[in-house]
């Protein structure tokens, strides 16, 4: 009898603990999908693309990024006008309102990944740490897949 009570007490305790932990774990405030790096040969910069969704109730802002695989990472946007192409550094970052997403895609927003530190191959995973304002923690490591340069 004593043993049975102890077991029941233990089960109740465990269940309670699990419920409590479940309540503690918040839904992830952001979600990053389709994170990919387009492989450009020759040691020049490459572009990183992705979609960032803001599930939180706050306005967030992607303000920077860094990667152990690249010397420098910048947030850029390609501007096409009057038959000319140029790149614009997004010095104020990229603002995402609650429920919205920011799409980094070819001919538009992209992470400019400069000074690759080693030779990459299609299929490799590279870590890029995204730095935000408006959420905690501020830094979000994301695994990007290396894709062929011919993929959009």
């Amino acid at each position: 009898m004593k043993l049975a009570s102890a077991i029941v007490a233990l089960v109740v305790l465990l269940a309670g603990a699990l419920w409590w932990v479940g309540q503690m774990a918040p839904e992830s405030p952001i979600e990053v999908d389709n994170a990919r790096v387009r492989l450009v040969p020759g040691g020049g910069p490459m572009a990183g693309y992705m979609e960032i969704r803001n599930h939180s109730d706050d306005v967030i802002r992607l303000v920077g990024a860094a990667s152990p695989a690249f010397g420098n990472v910048m947030i850029h946007r390609t501007i096409l006008s009057d038959g000319r192409a140029r790149m614009q550094h997004q010095s104020d970052g990229v603002r995402i309102v609650p429920g919205d997403s920011a799409v980094f895609k070819p001919r538009d927003l992209h992470l400019m990944l400069m000074q690759p530190k080693g030779a990459l191959e299609v299929g490799d995973q590279v870590e890029i740490v995204l730095r935000f304002e408006g959420i905690a923690p501020a830094e979000w490591p994301v695994a990007f897949t290396v894709v062929p340069v011919t993929l959009e």
Partner: protein, 211 residues
């Protein structure tokens, strides 16, 4: 043409039959509906508007070359730089994919050229690695500022450099269109950056199969 023996009867039949004029009109209407210009091109027809191709540049093998390197075969030329991770690879990959869609023998006939307007960073070796990623048949070219200006001015395009950042990196602005020259090296078509692979392939096939 059928009914050639009885010319007059044939003439009467013409108004009801499918005539070349009607076919062309129908094609034009279909193409207009598909968002083309009044001549049915997805790109811009530049025939007769600009001078024939002429340049002195250095190719990806380190050889000094002129337009003769393309002589006798059509060429599609794009102006960019290799430290351009977004728009240049996107456009070059679309061009290479459009070329692969072309029927033989024009697919093999069309030559591809990438002219770097950033000679300080794009030496022959760098160009060779870069163009090889898109197509074996893409030739990388660059030159001195004087040589590049002579070529770009000919086609009324410009390029420029931003101030270098703390790391010495700098951005380059450049033309976003692909220039297509025929086998006589006359400029014929500008494929704008907004075109996708099927539209590029359609324009290239139409131009390269013209009598």
């Amino acid at each position: 043409m059928a009914g050639g023996v009885h010319g007059r009867t044939g003439d009467v039949g013409v108004s009801l039959a499918v005539t070349p004029g009607r076919i062309i009109a129908t094609i034009a209407l279909v193409l207009l509906a598909a968002g083309c210009d009044d001549e049915g091109w997805h790109g811009k027809n530049i025939t007769g508007l600009m001078p024939e191709l002429e340049f002195r540049l250095t190719d990806e093998n380190g050889n000094r070359v002129s337009e003769d390197v393309f002589a006798g075969r059509p060429v599609a030329m794009y102006f960019g730089f290799t430290h351009c991770p977004d728009i240049c690879p996107t456009t070059l990959a679309r061009l290479a994919a459009a070329t692969r869609r072309l029927p033989e023998p024009i697919s093999q006939d069309l030559q591809l050229a990438f002219v770097s307007v950033d000679p300080a960073r794009d030496g022959p070796e760098q160009l060779d690695k870069y163009t090889g990623a898109f197509s074996d048949r893409m030739l990388g070219l660059t030159g001195t500022q004087k040589q590049l200006q002579a070529l770009t001015r000919r086609y009324r395009i410009t390029y420029g450099y931003d101030e270098p950042d703390a790391n010495g990196d700098y951005e380059v602005s450049h033309s976003s269109a692909i220039f297509v020259f025929d086998a006589e090296l006359e400029p014929r078509l500008m494929l704008l950056d907004s075109l996708e692979v099927p539209q590029m392939a359609e324009d290239l096939e139409r131009l390269l199969t013209m009598p």
